[in-house]
């Protein structure tokens, strides 16, 4: 038997320590590994753009829409289409396709592919979640490079919707049929897009790998490949970042602070484009008097919460809208004033309406930060005589309650929620207009404010860009006066990328974008 010596032990220990380092072998150094589907903008395990409610950062590696937002999300520019022309009344859009676009299998991209994708997206049988939003749009392709969309009613938001509709290859998908297309193995075995990276492999629940597409319309990508690693939560992704296993991930605000001052990493900060608000369930019979709703805004010290709990990782919201161009500067700011809140509640007769009876306050936010934030708001509201009891549930439970066929207003007289709010202001219509109360839309607070309805309807119907902008400002003013919901803040979101990644474009866009991230330019250096 071999004797155990001190030298032998030392060698063994050295080998043991070295082995895992060798084993944690990373892919070729020109392949970037990231947690591109981590966080609220991610959608791990979805490969079908027609079924995507999020995850566009990763989808955009392979697929491209006709038009796309700029990284600042301030305007829409051409992608697979060079641009578009719309009639004044916004009922007819003509798109001219970009030159030299090929599918990753070598076939040429034409207007027939666009027509096919739109038809597929209009058919719910294909698993498309765009079906009703694209209903009634007639598509014609006068030539290989031109596509004309004719609408039955004006829709100035069509480019916004089309920015999420990724083009799909007709020659590959048409033979597969539409029934059951959403679970066809094509999506995870041999998908083909026009984007800068080609799918190579999906390891279930682990990662997706891509290689550079040499024939990409904007030039061959500088990276040889990308790997999108899956993580259950951002904490696991942060561990991988710090362990040197990945180069990028979305991180929570408190996790981002852990990278401050570290030269090996770059923190990317951006607005979430999600308005956090307190929703008053208008069917609960408690919030009819607008003085009660206003009292909530005066009762909650939003500035202090943003400063001390969010530590600056949020901006106080005074408007229904986030986009500055539709937010008039004249809006009432409702500064923290508990005395005024008490006076408003007293004037409205709050003691008779509800008094000190505890009100369930439903939310789907389950993070420790939001638990603390809601506890702070609970204490502030208690000081003015409103007793609330936060109830945090998972998303499915929340949706099960607020979208119930026969909703029980007493189960959720109040909600704390977030609503995607921009870049296109029209998106606010679906969660504030009376005709969008579930099941028609996502107005889960069941707001029925006639003045707001009228303002929203006018803005939605307006085709002229300048007049439309004015209409949306009017909506902001009405919402600021009536307080149909109490806007709280717009949280900032964060990503962390290693310092050796150059030309990296990312921002915490709602649903992960898509925006012109130009992954073909990402490089190590």
């Amino acid at each position: 038997m071999m004797p155990i010596t001190r030298r032998g032990l030392a060698l063994g220990a050295a080998a043991l320590a070295a082995a895992p380092r060798l084993a944690a072998a990373q892919p070729s150094r020109n392949v970037m590994v990231g947690g591109f589907d981590v966080g609220p903008g991610g959608y791990q395990g979805n490969f079908n753009p027609l079924a995507a409610t999020a995850g566009y950062t990763a989808l955009n590696f392979m697929y491209e829409p006709l038009v796309i937002y700029t990284p600042a999300l301030d305007r829409i520019e051409g992608a697979l289409a060079n641009g578009w022309e719309a009639t004044a009344e916004k009922t007819k859009y003509t798109f001219t396709l970009a030159d030299n676009v090929h599918w990753q299998d070598g076939q040429k991209f034409t207007s027939a592919d666009v027509a096919f994708t739109l038809a597929l997206a209009q058919d719910a049988k294909s698993g498309s979640i765009f079906a009703s939003r694209l209903a009634g749009i007639a598509v014609t392709a006068p030539d290989a490079k031109t596509v004309v969309l004719t609408l039955t009613k004006p829709n100035a938001s069509l480019p916004d919707l089309l920015s999420k509709l990724m083009m799909l290859p007709r020659h590959q998908l048409e033979p597969l049929g539409r029934d059951g297309l959403d679970h066809n193995p094509w999506w995870t075995k041999s998908p083909v897009g026009t984007g800068p990276f080609q799918f190579t492999h999906y390891e279930t629940d682990q990662y997706v790998s891509y290689k550079a597409f040499p024939g990409y319309r904007l030039g061959k990508p500088k990276l040889d490949g990308l790997i999108n690693r899956y993580f259950k939560d951002s904490a696991s992704a942060v561990a991988a970042l710090k362990a040197g296993e990945i180069e990028f991930s979305y991180v929570e605000p408190d996790e981002a602070r852990g990278f401050t001052g570290n030269k090996d990493f770059r923190i990317i900060e951006g607005p979430s484009w999600v308005l956090n608000y307190i929703g008053f369930n208008w069917d609960a019979g408690l919030w009819t008097d607008e003085r009660v709703r206003r009292a909530f805004l005066y009762a909650i010290n939003r500035t202090e919460i943003v400063k001390t709990l969010f530590r600056g990782a949020a901006d106080v919201a005074d408007s229904l809208f986030i986009a500055p161009n539709v937010t008039p500067k004249t809006l009432e700011k409702y500064p923290y004033d508990p005395a005024r809140a008490r006076a408003l509640l007293a004037a409205a007769g709050w003691e008779k309406i509800n008094g000190r009876k505890p009100l369930p306050w439903l939310t789907y936010y389950n993070t420790p930060l939001i638990a603390n934030v809601m506890a702070a708001m609970q204490a502030m509201l208690a000081q003015v005589g409103v007793a609330v009891v936060p109830r945090a549930v998972d998303v499915a439970t929340y949706n099960g309650i607020v979208y119930a066929k026969k909703p029980d207003p007493s189960a959720y007289p109040l909600i704390f929620a977030g609503a995607q709010n921009g870049p296109d202001p029209a998106i606010a219509n679906i969660w504030t207009a009376e005709n969008q109360i579930p099941p028609n839309g996502t107005n889960v607070a069941r707001i029925h404010d006639p003045a707001l309805n009228a303002a929203l309807a006018a803005a939605m119907a307006e085709g002229d860009d300048a007049r439309r902008l004015a209409d949306w400002r009017k909506v902001a003013e009405v919402a600021n006066h009536d307080v149909p919901l109490a806007p709280m803040w717009v949280a900032k979101r964060y990503g962390v990328v290693t310092a050796n990644v150059k030309n990296f474009v990312w921002q915490p866009a709602p649903s992960g974008g898509p925006f012109a991230q130009h992954a073909e330019l990402w490089a190590f250096g």
């Binding site: 079906a131 390891e203 259950k232 998972d394």
Partner: protein
């Protein structure tokens, strides 16, 4: 023996049927359904889109019809499609995820059983020695550490700071999968998984052996001049193992819970992670499939434990 086996298998089939009804019923009692989980509260979707999704997933049919349709297909081996994004067949998902869990649990339990028995024997033989006291303190710590905390601490120390193990996954992405690569991803989660099991096993082993070492037949063996090593290993150990076998059997069933935490923290693509994701997504077909698979595994382990009793102690007869 054969009659015993037939009876147990028949009971297992009935229990599986009951489990499927219970799981199906309880799932429908939980708030929300797969479509509710699918909707991002911050992203607008229209009623027509949501209704189409619900119809496509068969959720608009009456509950008994849904159950009978599922059960009928399941009897033919078709467990349906996951309602999650990839819409993969459930049977394929279960097959893909069972092996990693077996690997993780198998390694962890083997490690825990071997270590637990050895350290437990040592603790009993050297009772009240500094070694025994140290083991007692460490085992208390191990038992009282929740799996998720142990896992997080393990990642923090061994992956982030010492970089001795990858922080997650079963193999390095983008490179060919090798046994060495998988083992290096496996050692940390398996070791952390083994901590609680080891401490339990060693405590049972120690207590059981101490009891047996005081038995008359052991005293007789010593009086006959049998060497102490032989007394412990040959005469006492076999009898002392019975409660440990029971514990290991129970450990396998209970380990599923621990595996869920470890797999979640390490993103280990096993049944635990599959189940957690499925529950979050209210993915009924996957939850049903995974629950039945785990249920079947537990029943088989219990049966195997009973059979092992008889093998270890011939006094036990299976009836």
């Amino acid at each position: 023996m054969l009659r015993f086996l037939a009876q147990r298998l028949a009971a297992a089939v009935l229990m599986m049927a009951a489990l499927s009804v219970l799981t199906f019923g309880l799932l429908r009692l939980t708030p929300g359904d797969p479509v509710d989980a699918y909707i991002d509260p911050m992203v607008p979707m229209t009623e027509a889109d949501i209704a189409a999704l619900r119809t496509r997933l068969g959720l608009d049919r009456p509950l008994p019809v849904q159950y009978l349709a599922w059960a009928g297909a399941a009897l033919k081996g078709d467990l349906g499609y996951s309602t999650q994004k990839e819409r993969a067949p459930v049977a394929r998902l279960l097959t893909q995820h069972a092996l990693p869990t077996l690997m993780l649990m198998g390694t962890g339990l083997a490690l825990a059983t071997v270590l637990g028995i050895i350290v437990g024997i040592a603790g009993a033989v050297w009772r009240d020695s500094p070694f025994d006291i140290a083991v007692g303190v460490l085992s208390s710590l191990g038992i009282s550490s929740p799996a998720f905390l142990t896992a997080l601490l393990g990642v923090f120390v061994f992956s982030v700071h010492l970089r001795l193990a990858p922080s997650g996954g079963m193999a390095s992405p983008g490179v060919p999968v090798t046994v060495a690569n998988v083992l290096r991803h496996l050692w940390l989660p398996a070791s952390l998984f083994a901590i609680a099991q080891t401490t339990l096993t060693l405590r049972y082993m120690r207590a059981s052996l101490l009891e047996v070492l005081n038995a008359d037949y052991v005293r007789t063996a010593r009086a006959k001049g049998v060497a102490e090593f032989a007394v412990v290993m040959k005469h006492a150990l076999r009898n002392a193992l019975l409660p440990v076998v029971t514990l290991v059997g129970a450990n396998i069933s209970a380990a599923v819970g621990g595996a869920i935490f470890i797999e979640t923290v390490f993103n280990w693509p096993g049944m635990g992670l599959l189940l957690v994701n499925a529950v979050e997504a209210r993915d009924y077909p996957t939850i049903m499939g995974a629950t039945l698979m785990i249920g079947a595994a537990v029943l088989l382990v219990n049966l195997a434990t009973d059979l092992l009793y008889a093998a270890i102690d011939p006094r036990i007869r299976l009836q």
